[in-house]
């Protein structure tokens, strides 16, 4: 959007001001306005959703069991925190949010079945849910058929856009390009070695990264290797890395494989303080398993780190820890999940209705100034404008912010020249 870039300076200043004030005033003023004029249910719910004079029902659909539970639990916690905070402020259009939680059980068809149950039987006004691309792909036809609204938190491969989905994570170009630019400039990197898990997200991300390295950065990809999900033997690729001596190792290995990958990298004598490594798949949650000592020095490209120094984050982190325990860590996706209920609330209030069609239409332009990552706004394509940040992993499992883009990066799920 061209007008956005023109107004860049002006809005950046305004944004800073707003950020400073956001935590308290923005949160206390909105509910009063909605309390003052609690509209009649018949006026704001014309499609038979589960909305009463005092309550509105929302579904949470993540894996509470199975292999993905370890990743998705953070999202469930963040969504419940946001909903509790919204309820404490008086709810949405004067209605308290009631949650129906369903378990996707790390099984994609179960996700589809439960999504259908939430929409058809429970008539939920929105679903906060899904994590893996596979679960989203399974749920997408369901939310489109029954005209539901899904808030999807994970950074993902792009190539998708739906009236019925708001993508609160980054799509691939938002996550990758700025990080590659930064490392190319900062480290003078010319040669890259890609290592990923073998499924759609790493494959698509690496495709985009390869085009960018070759066409824009004029560098070279000296190797590209994929490993099955759950794989724990990385010795052969580590040998290849040692032979080709790339300037940067670029990884999108996911889940438990990360633990093996970084431990073996360290055991093989690759010192991450000397060998640059840029990952787009390791957040604070993963470091919990990998161990700070095994990954310290690596760079991660995300939009949020728990260590971010801004007023919103300083209220968000303690609130999260108070609700879910001192030891919990907050990764990029957890923060994106926290945005879901808030963006939905703000959109409902903007539309003055719970109707999905009206929410879908009102979504573009909705801005959330209380976002822990700073400030986000929904684009016409239902993705978020957000900053790209690079952090360096520290021994204690946290990231130190090294770089962030000056402006919000436009989401571009169908990037021209990268397909």
């Amino acid at each position: 959007m061209s007008d956005e870039t023109n107004k860049g300076l002006q809005s950046a200043f305004r944004r800073k001001l707003l950020m400073g004030m956001a935590a308290i005033p923005a949160m206390t003023m909105l509910p009063r306005a909605s309390f003052a004029q609690t509209p009649a249910t018949s006026a704001i719910n014309t499609t038979g959703l589960a909305v009463t004079d005092t309550e509105v029902t929302v579904g949470i659909l993540h894996s509470a069991t199975g292999t993905m539970a370890i990743s998705e639990t953070g999202s469930i916690e963040a969504e419940k925190l946001a909903i509790e905070q919204i309820n404490a402020m008086g709810g949405v259009l004067g209605r308290k949010i009631k949650v129906i939680q369903e378990d996707g059980a790390s099984d994609w068809p179960t996700f589809a079945e439960k999504a259908k149950k939430l929409l058809v039987n429970d008539k939920v006004a929105a679903i906060m849910g899904c994590w893996t691309s596979a679960s989203r792909k399974a749920v997408l036809p369901v939310v489109e058929q029954y005209n539901g609204m899904l808030y999807y938190p994970t950074f993902y491969e792009g190539l998708e856009q739906s009236k019925n989905v708001i993508y609160t994570g980054q799509e691939a170009t938002q996550q990758i390009l700025a990080g590659l630019n930064w490392i190319a400039k900062e480290k003078g990197a010319k040669s890259f070695f890609f290592v990923g898990s073998d499924y759609i997200w790493p494959r698509t991300s690496n495709k985009i990264a390869r085009k960018h390295v070759e066409n824009v950065l004029k560098g070279k990809v000296v190797g590209e290797e994929y490993y099955a999900l759950g794989s724990t033997q990385f010795n052969s690729v580590i040998n290849k890395i040692k032979l080709t001596k790339p300037d940067v190792i670029f990884t999108d290995v996911v889940g438990g494989s990360n633990v093996a990958f970084y431990k073996q990298l360290k055991a093989a004598g690759v010192d991450l303080s000397k060998q640059a490594l840029l990952t787009i798949s390791v957040t604070e949650d993963e470091i919990d398993g990998i161990g700070g000592e095994n990954i310290a020095g690596a760079y991660a490209c995300m939009k949020y780190f728990q260590s971010l120094d801004n007023p919103n984050n300083k209220t968000f982190v303690p609130a999260f820890k108070k609700m879910w325990g001192e030891k919990t860590v907050i990764g990029d996706v957890t923060q994106a999940a926290y945005l879901g209920p808030w963006l939905w609330k703000l959109t409902v209030e903007k539309a003055g209705s719970f109707d999905v069609d009206k929410i879908a239409a009102a979504s573009p332009g909705v801005e959330f100034k209380g976002a822990p990552e700073g400030y986000v706004r929904i684009h016409e394509n239902h993705h978020l404008w957000s900053k790209t940040r690079v952090g360096r992993a520290k021994l204690d499992g946290q990231f130190e912010l090294i770089y962030e883009t000056a402006d919000l990066v436009e989401p571009d799920p169908f990037p021209k020249g990268y397909q």
Binding site: P109, K137, A138, P141, K207
Partner: protein, 379 residues
């Protein structure tokens, strides 16, 4: 034992009761969403039915039925996916007219083995023949060499693992771990709306009864008795001049074809196919359905499947964080307390009482004798 070629009187009553339940009671009592769930459960009932023949009667424990369920499902899903990927539906892609996951994986032309799946006739033949022939090859390779029992079970597991890895790894051709999603129409007929779900449900129930009849026929024919004899005394059957391997191959193939029909119906009913039905875990789950229902009972398998899946759905809806423990407890309880499953409970406890109440001429003995003597179940 009644010498009827097809079913004893009490079996016939059992079939009629099941028919009444599936055709009349459930459609009247459940809304379309729940009925569609029952349709999904019933797709597994095909697998359980095959397992009754193969495992219960033939004594061949296959822990890889997911392979055949998956092959059948994938064949059907390929046809549906091609139809959903018309040029106008996919004009956003770099190569319109091919399935979306191929486009994401930089494939620019439809692979040769996908092309025949434009034809529904070919697809229906493939649903039956691909798994059937695959089972024939595995069966011939194993049984001709007299591999059986535990070794066979382990090898079927290995096949399930291999096929999963193959499907996940070849994501450009198979959709990988995401599977094939967003299946829409069958020959232009939208399979997603409610009325289509109802039609599909009744069609599936019809197919299920066709399979039940085939299973009944196998059981009551000489073939069925040889299977049981083989299970209990393999060598004696061999010395009597029968080719044990061929009978085993037949039982294994019929189980595979039943599973494949279930898989194809799954793709139609759920609009979805993914490798998560092919692997080791779902294959074992399918054995559990049969065990809960009673592995000797044809109708028990159907009830077992419905019950376990119903428990799965309702437990997970009520206790999203604890339901797996409840389900696990249920399995352990059934296997420990009732080794013959639901059919065992019915045959040993309920049926005799009912018989006593209505003063039937043949009370308990008929049931227990049957199930001990020739493995006839107690529906």
């Amino acid at each position: 034992m009644n010498d009827s070629r097809f079913a004893t009187r009490s079996e016939l009553i059992g079939i009629l009761v099941l028919a009444a339940l599936l055709v009349v009671v459930l459609p009247l009592c459940l809304d379309v969403f729940r009925l569609n769930l029952v349709a999904k459960y019933l797709t597994y009932a095909f697998v359980a039915l095959g397992l009754v023949i193969c495992w219960g009667y033939g004594g061949i424990l296959s822990l890889g039925q997911g392979v055949f369920f998956g092959l059948g499902g994938y064949c059907m899903a390929m046809f549906l996916k091609l139809e959903a990927s018309s040029v106008e539906n996919t004009k956003i892609q770099s190569t319109p007219g091919i399935p979306d996951f191929m486009d994401w994986n930089q494939i620019t032309a439809l692979p040769f083995f996908w092309k025949p799946f434009h034809s529904l006739t070919f697809t229906i033949a493939a649903v039956i023949l691909v798994p059937g022939i695959f089972a024939l090859i595995i069966g011939a390779a194993m049984f001709k060499r007299r591999v059986g029992g535990t070794y066979f079970a382990i090898i079927t597991q290995a096949v399930a693992a291999i096929l999963t890895i193959l499907i996940v790894g070849q994501q450009g051709y198979t959709g990988g771990i995401n599977g094939m999603t967003d299946l829409r129409t069958l020959k232009g007929w939208d399979i997603r709306p409610d009325h289509a779900k109802i039609v599909l449900y009744f069609f599936e129930v019809g197919l299920l009864f066709a399979c039940i009849f085939i299973a009944q026929f196998v059981r009551h024919s000489k073939l069925g008795r040889i299977l049981v004899a083989m299970r209990d005394q393999e060598d004696r059957v061999r010395f009597s001049g029968y080719s044990v391997a061929n009978f085993k191959i037949f039982a294994f193939c019929i189980a595979a074809v039943f599973a494949a029909i279930g898989g194809a119906m799954f793709a139609l009913n759920v609009g979805f196919m993914s490798p998560s039905f092919v692997g080791i875990v779902p294959s074992i789950e399918m054995v559990i359905y049969t065990a809960v229902g009673g592995r000797l009972s044809i109708l028990g398998a159907v009830y077992g499947t419905i019950l376990v899946n119903f428990a799965k759905t309702s437990l997970s809806e009520s206790f999203p964080e604890l339901w797996l423990f409840g389900l696990g407890g249920l399995f352990i309880a059934v296997v420990l307390a009732f080794p013959n499953g639901l059919a065992g409970i019915w045959g040993d406890y309920i049926q005799p009482r009912i018989s006593k109440l209505i003063g039937a001429r043949k009370p308990k003995s008929g049931w227990t004798d049957n199930s001990v003597a020739d493995g006839a179940p107690a529906e």
